[in-house]
């Protein structure tokens, strides 16, 4: 079956493949060496853009308004950071599934995505000082009688899958309570409104959100169980970047700008945000 024509063609194909692989390897070395961990504020300013990973389905932190503009506390925080740096903001829409991958491959420089600071996560990324707090508790309609954990027996409690609250409610929920998990805030809130669940375990700002989503709604926090703090995430070893971001957060905490953001989007004053 093999003619001299075929062998010649095979040899040429192998040479071409080897060349292609060699070029790819060279590109990899060149590409990998460059911007991997060396991102500094000076470089961001020289580059002229800051890429921030944000959600678009997490009201009121990051969502779209009726003009299809990207709005929310985290969105405005990103805008403020970019403006102060004097660079253009490039929003990278990410989901819970790909946000860390995006950060670790430099498709985003920082993530502002309601990320609770935990030791386990801190082994993979670096966090800034907190910009918001996530106090969580059981939320339900005023008519639902829940005063403590025991009242959850026979009820369905919603939580965002593997988010900060999932292991907490999974551990603390009494026997006879059903815990249901949802992929994101949007899914969880819809479930509460649609009656898929009797209560949700979420942060204490959510009743305000639910009550605005359902005009005349009457959701409230029944009792608080935990508090976790949200930080801006970036790749490890970017000390220069983290130092600047922390300095910036310090200034907006002390001059009232962060408080203004909280009041504007969350209808609450800025709570106490401890630092580390």
């Amino acid at each position: 079956m093999k003619t001299s024509l075929s062998i010649g063609k095979a040899a040429r194909a192998v040479r071409a493949a080897a060349l292609a692989l060699g070029l790819a390897a060279a590109a990899a070395v060149a590409g990998g060496g460059g911007g991997a961990s060396a991102l500094t504020i000076a470089e961001i300013q020289k580059r002229g853009t800051l890429a921030v990973g944000l959600s678009d389905v997490s009201p009121p932190y990051a969502t779209k308004n009726e003009k299809m503009e990207h709005v929310g506390l985290e969105v405005e925080l990103a805008e403020m950071i970019a403006k102060t740096l004097g660079v253009k903001l490039r929003i990278v829409i990410v989901t819970a599934a790909n946000r860390v991958a995006c950060l670790l491959t430099d498709c985003a420089d920082i993530l502002i995505y309601g990320l609770t600071i935990t030791p386990e996560r801190a082994t993979q990324v670096w966090f800034s000082q907190p910009y918001a707090v996530n106090a969580s508790g059981i939320i339900a309609a005023k008519g639902t009688a829940i005063a403590s954990l025991d009242d959850l027996v026979g009820k369905r409690v919603g939580v965002i899958r593997a988010a900060f609250g999932d292991p907490v409610i999974t551990e603390k929920a009494p026997r006879g309570a059903t815990v249901q998990r949802f992929d994101d805030m949007s899914g969880l809130l819809q479930a509460m409104l649609a009656g898929h669940v009797d209560a949700i375990f979420e942060n204490t700002l959510i009743p305000g959100v639910l009550n605005t989503m359902r005009r005349g709604g009457d959701f409230e926090t029944k009792f608080v169980m935990t508090a976790g703090y949200w930080g801006i995430a970036m790749r490890q070893d970017r000390e220069n970047l983290r130092q600047w971001i922390n300095s910036y957060l310090f200034t907006i905490k002390t001059d009232g700008k962060l408080d203004a953001l909280h009041r504007k989007y969350l209808n609450v004053p800025m709570p106490a945000l401890p630092t580390f």
């Binding site: 599934a97 790909n98 993979q124 990324v125 593997a162 999932d166 998990r181 992929d183």
Partner: protein, 220 residues
């Protein structure tokens, strides 16, 4: 970036539990899909004009729209009419209906593949409608149908990953949850992908073996 194999091994039990759930869901969806397919095919062959048109319309809709959108309709849309299904139930119904649309066509093709001559011979022998189906059509149709159904099973097993988007419980959801807590998406998704690949290869091997044996036995 620090890729860690030890990390994956530590979480392997959880991922394997997810694999078990995936297989279970796939099997249940297969049963529902075959049932729906039989009903659909029966309606298409025997029912009146409007029923046939309705079935055809449903098949066209299901085959020309993405599974994820169908799941969103069932899980998020139906509650607007008061029908609230759990995520796992919505996943099963969504997958079952999806497979059912393909199965209806497969069954119809299988039955259609039995030559006219066979059916006419049956009539010439004085066999009634149902007897013709049972003795003349059923076995060759089954032979024609099994390979296609087998292929669908592997496809459905892989498609179960889509139900993670409505938070039903299976491997992709568990993987998603793990990577959110640990911030190690690469290790987790790579492990999950390899598990899916292992499941798909094992399923294909098993189906080729059993279908081959069964089909072989019925050779006339």
């Amino acid at each position: 970036m620090n890729f860690s194999v030890g990390f994956v091994i530590a979480h392997l039990p959880e991922l394997l539990r997810g694999a078990g759930l995936t297989l279970l869901l796939a099997m249940q969806a297969m049963l529902v899909g075959v049932a729906v397919g039989l009903v659909g095919c029966g309606l298409q062959l025997c029912a009146g004009r409007w029923a046939r048109l309705a079935v055809q319309a449903w098949i066209e809709f299901t085959r020309n729209t993405p599974l994820i959108v169908q799941l969103f309709l069932i899980y998020f849309g139906l509650p607007e009419f008061g029908l609230r299904l759990s995520a796992n139930l919505a996943a099963l119904i969504g997958l079952g209906l999806y497979l059912g649309a393909f199965a209806t066509e497969i069954f119809r093709a299988g039955i259609g593949s039995v030559g006219r001559g066979q059916i006419e011979a049956g009539r010439a022998l004085g066999l009634g409608g149902f007897q013709i189906f049972r003795f003349v059509v059923a076995v060759p149709a089954l032979k024609a149908v099994l390979p296609a159904l087998g292929a669908q099973f592997t496809l459905i097993m892989l498609a179960t990953s889509v139900v993670s988007t409505i938070s039903a419980d299976e491997l992709a959801s568990i993987a998603n949850g793990l990577q959110t807590t640990t911030f190690r998406p690469f290790e987790i998704y790579l492990a999950a992908s390899l598990i899916y690949l292992a499941l798909a290869l094992a399923l294909r091997a098993m189906l080729t073996a059993t279908a081959g044996a069964y089909v072989g036995r019925w050779r006339e």
